[in-house]
């Protein structure tokens, strides 16, 4: 697995840079326009969470090959406050920021694989994958 790129999310411009990087990478790999939109939307949601809740974090984009197919792995890593109620944040409509609450459950539906690890006080790591069909 090789790291393709990582984008620091310190300002809201980082959100735009991250999704542009995701758009280019997914286009280059041959993802359909619908999958490109799914991937960029997922990146945008994850980057926005970093920006809204922690101010500082990194979106990583990697190309992966499991022997049969290629895919793209998005990681969202921050050293923020962490998430106390992991179960709640995966429920549609749950939001502490006045948003739509579509973020994380939405990302999970857009992507093929989704994993979240978080400990209060230690930050959050979200890993999510989309496979090329």
């Amino acid at each position: 697995m090789t790291t393709q790129s990582s984008v620091e999310i310190g300002t809201e411009w980082g959100i735009v840079s991250a999704r542009q990087a995701g758009r280019e990478l997914s286009k280059g790999l041959g993802f359909s326009s619908v999958d490109q939109a799914r991937i960029t939307t997922a990146i945008s949601e994850l980057a926005r969470n970093i920006y809204l809740y922690t101010k500082n974090g990194v979106i990583g984009l990697e190309v992966v090959n499991d022997g049969h197919r290629q895919g793209i792995i998005i990681t969202a890593r921050d050293q923020g406050p962490g998430i106390e109620n992991l179960r709640d944040v995966m429920v549609d409509g749950y939001s502490t920021s006045g948003g739509l609450g579509a973020g994380l459950p939405g990302v999970k539906r857009l992507m093929d694989e989704f994993d979240i690890q978080s400990n209060p006080g230690e930050g959050t790591l979200i890993t999510t994958t989309k496979w090329l069909r």
């Binding site: 960029t40 739509l100 973020g103 539906r109």
Partner: protein
Amino acid sequence: MRIPILKLGNYLLISIQVELDDQTALLFQEDLLNKIHQEGSQGIVIDLTSVDMIDSYIAKVIGDVVEMSNLMGAKVVLTGIQPAVAITLVEMGVSLNGVQTALDLEQGLEKLQQELEG
């Protein structure tokens, strides 16, 4: 960056052709409401043909601006939403309730005309 708002009779036409960052989206919200107030516009078409991604935040800003325009007495139609955008919005679970849409600019204008005259 500002999104241009064109006046056509009683209508305002907006074609969003830039990558929508948060600032641009919020600025557009204010600009549009001010323009409606200034021009006394009754109908607005926001064309999204060139927009290739709408996340939940941008969707909220768009939904809000439609609601705000309605409060002011103007009707809004969104046009040209791309297949990929429609698919991701629904999969995300984002619903733009009560928002009028049409396939393209032409049909959007027709829809406004019918609503305002009929």
